[in-house]
C-alpha cells in the first residue's frame, strides 16, 4: 500500500510544489554565491543584474501603493509570492501539474491576503470601530458590507484558478482537434503534424502571457487593498 492507493489521498500538485520550492531554493543559493564575489563598484551583469532589477521593480511597486514605511515590511512577502506564482503558472510548459490550477493552492494564497487586509483594518481602526463599521450608515447595510468583506477572498482565488485551469483545458482541446484533423492524411496521419505548427503561438498567449498578467494583477490587488487600510500620512 503506497501513497497512491492509501486511504489518505495526496494530490498530484504537492510534488510539483516541492519541486518548484527546491528550484527556488537553489536559485537563491546561486544568487547569494554570485553576490559575494562581485565588485561593489563595477557594473553588475548576469544573474546579479536580474536579481537587482527584480528587487528594484518590487520595491517601486509597493512604494507606489503603500508608502515608504509600510513598503519595507511588505515588499519581501510580495516578491516571494510573485516569484512562486510566476514559476508555478509557467510550469505547465515543462510538464508539471500546475499548482495554481488547484483551488486549494489559490485559496491559501488569497486567504493570506485576506487575513492581511482584515488585520491591518483591526490595527488601524481598533476592534470596536471595525465591528461598528458593519452597521454604517444604517443597520440594514450589514448585508452589503458583509459581502463586500468576503468578495476579495472569493474573487482573487477564483480568478487565478479559472485563468490557469482554462488555459490548460483549451490547449488540451486544441491538441485533440488537430489530432483528429491530421488523422485524415493517409500516410503520416498517426503523428499530429498540424498541432505542432499551431500550438506554440497559442501556448504563448494562454500560458506565458496569461501567467505573467495574473501574477501582476494578484500583487497589484494585494498592495492596493492593504494600502487602502493603512493610515494616511
Amino acid at each position: 500500500m503506497n501513497i497512491f492507493t492509501s486511504p489518505i489521498k495526496i494530490q498530484v500538485e504537492v510534488f510539483a510544489i516541492l519541486l518548484i520550492v527546491s528550484f527556488i531554493f537553489f536559485l537563491l543559493v546561486m544568487i547569494n554565491r554570485a553576490l559575494k564575489k562581485t565588485d561593489v563598484y563595477a557594473k553588475p551583469k548576469g544573474l546579479v543584474l536580474i536579481a537587482l532589477i527584480y528587487y528594484k521593480f518590487m520595491l517601486q511597486l509597493t512604494t507606489d501603493n503603500m508608502g515608504k514605511k509600510a513598503a519595507k515590511i511588505y515588499a519581501p512577502y510580495i516578491a516571494t509570492v510573485a516569484l512562486f506564482m510566476v514559476i508555478s503558472n509557467l510550469s505547465g510548459l515543462i510538464g508539471l501539474a500546475q499548482p495554481t490550477a488547484n483551488l486549494s493552492v489559490t485559496l491559501s494564497l488569497a486567504l493570506i491576503t485576506w487575513i492581511l487586509i482584515q488585520s491591518t483594518k483591526f490595527r488601524t481602526q481598533g476592534y470596536k470601530a471595525y465591528f461598528h463599521g458593519f452597521i454604517e450608515p444604517i443597520p440594514p447595510f450589514i448585508i452589503p458590507n458583509f459581502f463586500g468583506t468576503i468578495a476579495p477572498l472569493i474573487s482573487m482565488s477564483m480568478r487565478l484558478f479559472g485563468n490557469i485551469t482554462s488555459g490548460g483545458t483549451i490547449m488540451t482541446l486544441i491538441y485533440v482537434f488537430t489530432q483528429w484533423l491530421s488523422s485524415w492524411v493517409p500516410v503520416i496521419g498517426g503523428f499530429n503534424f498540424i498541432g505542432v505548427v499551431f500550438a506554440p503561438i497559442l501556448h504563448f498567449y494562454f500560458d506565458v502571457f496569461s501567467g505573467f498578467i495574473q501574477t501582476y494583477i494578484f500583487i497589484m490587488l494585494t498592495t492596493i487593498f492593504v494600502g487602502n487600510e493603512l493610515p494616511q500620512e
Partner: protein
C-alpha cells in the same frame, strides 16, 4: 450516446451561466480604451493610470467570475447532491 434529459438540462444551464461574461468583455474593453486615451493626454501619470485600470478591471471582472463559479458548481457538485 444516451444521456438522460436531466443531465442535458444541467449542461444547458451551465452554458447559460457563462453568458455573464458578455458584458464584462464590453465593459473592460471600454475601460482600457479610456485608459489609453488618458495616458495620451497626460503621459507623466502613466503609473497611476495603470494601477487604477487594473484595480477597476479586477472589480468589474467579478461578474464573469461568479458566472463561472455557478457553471462549475452545476457541472461538478450538483449531480452528486441530487442523486
Amino acid at each position: 450516446m444516451d444521456i438522460s434529459v436531466g443531465a442535458g438540462l444541467i449542461a444547458v444551464g451551465a452554458g447559460i451561466a457563462v453568458l455573464t461574461g458578455l458584458m464584462t468583455g464590453i465593459g473592460q474593453g471600454n475601460a482600457a480604451g479610456k485608459a489609453v486615451e488618458a495616458v495620451g493626454r497626460n503621459p507623466e501619470a502613466e503609473n497611476k493610470i495603470r494601477a487604477m485600470l487594473i484595480l477597476g478591471d479586477a472589480i468589474a471582472e467579478t461578474c464573469a467570475i461568479y458566472g463561472m463559479l455557478i457553471a462549475f458548481l452545476l457541472i461538478f457538485v450538483f449531480p452528486g447532491i441530487v442523486k
